[in-house]
């Protein structure tokens, strides 16, 4: 039995998960093999349970629905004994119908969401500017305290426009100046510090510069040094400070 390495939060709900299974198993959505899909669906849910992930109740409701459909499908079909005048009726009574309808309806909007995403991306290629401040032009058009015909939505809308607007980068050179600190260099620096210190140094003291990049690089350098067994890290007890020393010095 195949295992799924897919996270449940990769899905937008049970319908999305079902569509995924249908695609994956290359099933005809109008003729879903309920037994098979139910089994796959349940495997998925069980895996989630084993991983002790929270499963939204909707997923469980869908599991029950699938089982109900499956059992209905197993009931003997009397219609087959009858004449073909009942064929239409028989088509409508397929226990899968409602689910199929929901899946198709949902799929429609899932696809529409994709199109919206593309539109949004396209829109983001077009830059706009804020309204100019015309304070100098209109002299004494002092607005009085009139009744305001604005809502919170208007304000939020204006704020969104502001957030969407792109901001000019300060001097172009700041971007260039922010080059990465090579880990090798930081490793050498840390070793030099530890060796000259001749003893244990508080781990926190290694972080001399408080910007994110420096902290990250320092941390990576420490990990690398531990791996190379060039330094040793000790801790007295839980939650106590960490101490670092050069293995060479000790």
């Amino acid at each position: 039995m195949q295992h799924y390495n897919v996270k449940i939060d990769a899905f937008e709900g049970p319908l999305d998960l079902l569509l995924h299974l249908i695609n994956r198993l290359e099933i005809d959505i109008y003729d879903i093999p309920v037994a098979e899909i139910t089994e796959q669906y349940l495997i998925f849910i069980h895996t989630m349970k084993e991983l002790e992930l929270d499963i939204a109740s909707e997923y469980l409701v869908m599991a029950a629905t699938l089982l109900a459909i499956k059992s209905k499908m197993l009931l003997p079909k009397h219609e087959e004994d009858e004449f073909d005048e009942d064929l239409d009726v028989e088509m409508e009574e397929d226990p899968r119908d409602e689910l199929v309808e929901r899946l198709i309806e949902y799929r429609k909007y899932k696809e529409a969401a994709e199109e919206l995403k593309e539109l949004e991306q396209e829109r983001s290629l077009m830059y706009t500017k804020p309204p100019s401040d015309l304070a100098g032009i209109a002299k004494d058009a002092t607005p009085e305290k009139a009744n305001l015909d604005v809502s919170l939505y208007d304000m939020l809308g204006a704020l969104q426009k502001l957030m969407r607007r792109k901001k000019l980068q300060k001097p172009l050179s700041t971007k260039v100046a922010r080059q990465e600190i090579p880990i090798e260099r930081r490793i050498t620096e840390i070793l030099t510090v530890l060796k000259s210190f001749r003893g244990r140094k508080n781990f926190n003291d290694l972080f001399t510069i408080h910007n994110r990049e420096h902290v990250v690089v320092t941390f990576l350098a420490v990990l690398e040094l531990i791996k190379r067994k060039e330094i040793q890290v000790t801790q007295e007890n839980n939650f106590a400070d960490l101490f670092v020393e050069s293995t060479e010095a000790s």
Partner: protein
């Protein structure tokens, strides 16, 4: 110059209005011409911007207002200079919810949840805060649930003139056709028996 310089005037107006945009009403008021004439002028001007490759700008028509924006093809240069906040990037849940609302508005939360098959409170909050949707009324009947619809900001964020410009929903008819064929096939099979 003995005639009014419409192009120059409109360009300066649009520039000053920025992303607030100008309505036809404002344009016709400032130019002191009728709205129909103003509309013709604006169409001419839109055309002029689009057809002139020397222009880095274009006039967008969004939700009943005109606004200036840079042409798409120059985005690569702008990206070298301007921080892109990518602020409108929405989660999949929010996009789906927005799609349902855009096509089915006005619609209640429950109806949206029926279509999506999941709880939809969080995406609704996000979309409201981003001013992409708003409460547009209350449903009849018990509960009198809020009805949601899209906003002008929605049109702007997706570059749409109006709701009619939304991409066509993946047509049901195709699916139906497909189903029809299937059914035909089914009948045919039976007849052969």
């Amino acid at each position: 110059m003995n005639s009014v310089n419409w192009n120059g005037i409109v360009e300066s107006l649009l520039f000053a209005a920025g992303d607030e945009g100008l309505s036809l009403k404002q344009i016709s008021a400032v130019l002191e011409i009728g709205e129909i004439e103003a509309k013709d002028k604006m169409n001419e001007i839109i055309q002029m911007y689009n057809s002139d490759p020397n222009r880095g700008l274009q006039v967008l028509e969004i939700g009943g207002t005109y606004q200036l924006a840079t042409k798409k093809e120059f985005a690569i240069y702008l990206k070298r200079l301007v921080e892109s906040p990518s602020s409108t990037s929405l989660s999949q849940a929010a996009l789906e919810t927005l799609a349902v609302i855009a096509y089915k508005q006005p619609i209640t939360r429950i109806e949206i949840e029926e279509i999506r098959g999941v709880k939809t409170e969080r995406p609704l909050q996000t979309l409201t805060a981003k001013a992409l949707i708003k409460e547009v009324g209350r449903a009849e009947g018990n509960g009198r649930a809020y009805l949601y619809g899209t906003t002008k900001e929605f049109l702007d964020a997706f570059g749409l003139k109006d709701l009619a410009e939304l991409p066509k929903l993946p047509e049901q008819s195709e699916d139906d056709e497909f189903a029809q064929n299937e059914a035909d096939l089914f009948f045919d099979t039976l007849k052969q028996v």
